[in-house]
């Protein structure tokens, strides 16, 4: 395959902001009706659950939360386009990705409540625990993709990273390694315009994040990150290429973080209300609903289904968050090594004695 020589600066868009199909003809829109409806359901449910996470944080039940509001199309579209046997490497703002992958709510809540780090039960779903140090987990994805090559699988590994991460050295190393080894790895960048207070315009001077792919000799694709069908289509294309031995792809999904960086952040200090309003007008969920209406798939039945699904998940989330007991503190000592070292065993004993004395 010849090295790509250009990146289209215009994002792939299949559904326009008005909810009408665009003139784009390189990608298909004809997913089965049930799939089209399911994409809507999962986006809407993600948004509602996201809001519930924020509520729980405000009520003091969670220590922190990083909302993905505004990025539902990118997350649901991209994740829906890969198989359950493909591996996912999420960052920390990937509620939609993790929900679609079937990570139990109890495990999703644990890290935000502060009852345990990372993620328990994630790898059983072929998903790495969330990664907090920005950009570092792209390399894990490349390693996993190199494992798939050695196992003779046709699986694909997806690294979910953000615009800020693309400035890190690790992301450069990951793209370079993936390219050199033609690893079946897709880098799905959600360019949500802001890395806390740093706008993407000051994050890089290249024409776009996707343009960086040219330096690695791999395809780079810009996609409208608020268009679920377009995200689905470009991810499906990249995944197929990877499965067939065509190597990695860098996808830049152009989207917007409607909420704060986390519940501890105040975005009014660094961005304007006008900007937020401009992007809210491009909100992925009403846009997709309008499209479904145009093709005759949106109706009361779907709305009811979404409402019931949301209500069920919201109440389940509240239930698991408030009812899950904190772990025993001595579990820290038992999970640091496969076999507790003598030094740690002594420290565990010391802490137990300290706690017994206080009791």
């Amino acid at each position: 395959m010849p090295n790509p020589v250009s990146v289209d600066p215009e994002p792939v868009t299949l559904i326009g902001p008005d909810g009408m199909a665009t003139a784009e003809e390189r990608y298909r829109r004809d997913l089965p009706p049930e799939t089209l409806c399911w994409l809507y359901e999962m986006m809407a449910v993600t948004r509602d659950l996201d809001a519930e996470f924020i509520n729980l944080q405000r009520q003091g039940e969670l220590g922190l939360f990083a909302s993905c509001r505004g990025q539902e199309a990118a997350q649901i579209g991209a994740t829906a386009a890969v198989r359950k046997t493909d591996w996912l490497f999420p960052q920390y703002r990937e509620l939609g990705v993790l929900l679609l992958r079937g990570i139990p709510l109890r495990q999703l809540a644990a890290a935000w409540r502060g009852s345990w780090h990372g993620g328990i039960g994630f790898t059983a779903k072929r998903c790495a625990p969330i990664a907090i140090p920005i950009g570092t987990h792209g390399l894990h994805a490349v390693g996993a993709a190199m494992a798939a090559q050695r196992l003779g699988e046709d699986s694909v590994t997806v690294a979910f990273i953000g615009d800020g991460a693309t400035s890190t050295g690790d992301v450069h190393e990951a793209l370079n390694f993936a390219s050199v080894y033609r690893a079946p790895c897709v880098f799905f960048v959600q360019n949500n315009q802001w890395a806390i207070s740093m706008p993407v315009s000051r994050q890089l001077a290249a024409p776009s994040i996707a343009h960086r792919a040219l330096g690695y000799g791999i395809p780079g694709v810009r996609v409208d990150g608020n268009d679920a069908l377009a995200c689905y289509a470009v991810m499906a294309e990249a995944a197929l290429r990877a499965r067939e031995g065509g190597g990695p792809t860098l996808i830049e999904a152009v989207t917007y973080r409607q909420g704060a960086h986390t519940t501890s952040d105040d975005p009014t200090r660094y961005r304007s209300a006008e900007e937020l309003e401009r992007w809210k007008a491009l909100d992925p969920i009403p846009r997709y609903a309008a499209y479904l209406r145009h093709v005759g798939l949106f109706g009361e039945r779907l709305e009811h289904r979404v409402a019931a699904h949301s209500a069920r998940l919201r109440s389940e989330l509240r239930e698991v968050v408030v009812s899950v007991p904190d772990p025993d503190v001595t579990e820290l000592f038992d999970t640091t090594y496969a076999e507790t070292t003598p030094t740690l065993a002594a420290q565990r004993l010391a802490l137990r004695a300290e706690l017994a004395k206080e009791a």
Binding site: I120, T123, P133, H140, T157, V180, T335, T336, A338
Partner: protein
């Protein structure tokens, strides 16, 4: 040979087959012993992968990985682009998918670009997954000084790794330990840093692969003595044994030398047994004095053995400066003289 199979998270490590070897007894340098260990580990388990800079075609700058690529193929022993963070980062991903990576960082001073991957991910993965995820990664790092190398090629990095929970750290002092510590490291479900003392790379010793040596976490008394205990590891074990001989022949001091071999897990019971007996301890390591492993050992000895001590625990170490240029390293490194001075001081106390 075992087949590559995907291990569901949390299943136990097949440690048995990982330690199998063709029984051989041979005179080997430390480089040859490490090479033999890698060969045997790769033959015992198809999941073992060796990679790093110049490890395949060249066989490693010290030839530790010589012949692996030819014997096991380029899928299992491969050269990587020049990026240490990536070398450790892909090891994490390969381990997540069931492989047993044995990456090489070419020199101690180049482990720093990989620090984030080691400290934030490799070390923490087990705990942050509540023990679900094994990280059977062995990071080999040719380490320490004494070979007249250029800048950044003589660093003592152990204190950084020892301050990072979740890692094991071993430092062989001889060919036989190099073979077995590396075999045990590769068989370990936890990440192990193997810091190889370059200046002992070419020292020969009889190595037997017939029966497995004790696991990681056992110190050994290299020389019995009753007056003072020298606690050390790696390249300084030979220095300490030399100093002990000099001390005995010149002054009649009876010095016990303990080779720690594994710094984490630490075999403190062997340390305690020796220091309780002699009542005096000197710790020797190459790296800077402040917050070096000697500080931890001295603290622990006074916490647990205070009433057995006849004298303060002293430290024979490098200085709190950057590693010196080659022509000054002999003056900077703790040699027999600095060690004997410390021994003398502890013996002067009543």
């Amino acid at each position: 040979m075992t087949q590559i199979v995907e291990r569901p998270a949390g299943t136990p490590e097949p440690t048995g087959p990982l330690l199998t070897a063709v029984p051989v007894t041979a005179e080997l340098t430390m480089v040859q012993a490490l090479n033999r260990a890698l060969h045997d580990a790769m033959a015992a388990d198809d999941r073992v992968l060796v990679f790093g800079e110049d490890v395949a075609r060249l066989g490693g700058v010290f030839r530790v990985t010589e012949g692996l690529s030819e014997t096991f193929g380029e899928q299992r022993c491969f050269d990587t682009p020049l990026a240490e963070s990536a070398i450790v980062g892909i090891a994490v991903g390969l381990a997540l998918r069931g492989f047993v990576p044995v990456p090489e960082i070419q020199f101690d001073g180049f482990s720093y670009p990989a620090f984030d991957q080691i400290a934030s991910h490799l070390a923490k993965y087990r705990m942050r997954s509540h023990g679900e995820i094994d990280m059977p990664v062995t990071v080999r790092i040719p380490s320490f000084g004494g070979i007249g190398a250029v800048e950044h090629h003589s660093e003592s990095t152990e204190a950084y790794w020892l301050h990072t929970a979740g890692l094991k750290v071993v430092v062989p002092s001889c060919a036989s330990d190099a073979y077995w510590l590396l075999r045990h490291a590769i068989a370990s479900p936890d990440p192990v840093l193997v810091l190889e003392p370059k200046r002992r790379y070419w020292t020969r010793e009889t190595v037997s692969t017939a029966t497995a040596a004790p696991p990681i976490g056992r110190a050994v008394v290299r020389r019995g003595g009753s007056d003072v205990t020298v606690l050390t590891y790696g390249g300084l074990v030979a220095t300490a044994l030399h100093a002990a001989e000099l001390g005995f022949s010149r002054f009649g001091w009876d010095v016990e030398v303990v080779d720690l071999r594994s710094l984490n897990p630490l075999d403190f019971s062997t340390v305690a047994e020796s220091v309780s007996k002699t009542g005096r301890a000197v710790v020797a390591h190459e790296g800077p004095r402040t917050l070096g492993f000697g500080a931890e050992l001295a603290a622990r000895i006074q916490e647990e053995l205070f009433y057995d001590l006849e004298a303060p625990v002293l430290r024979a170490t490098g200085f709190d400066t950057p590693y010196p240029p080659a022509r000054l390293e002999k003056l900077w490194l703790p040699g027999p003289d600095r060690l004997l001075d410390c021994i003398e001081k502890t013996l002067e106390r009543p």
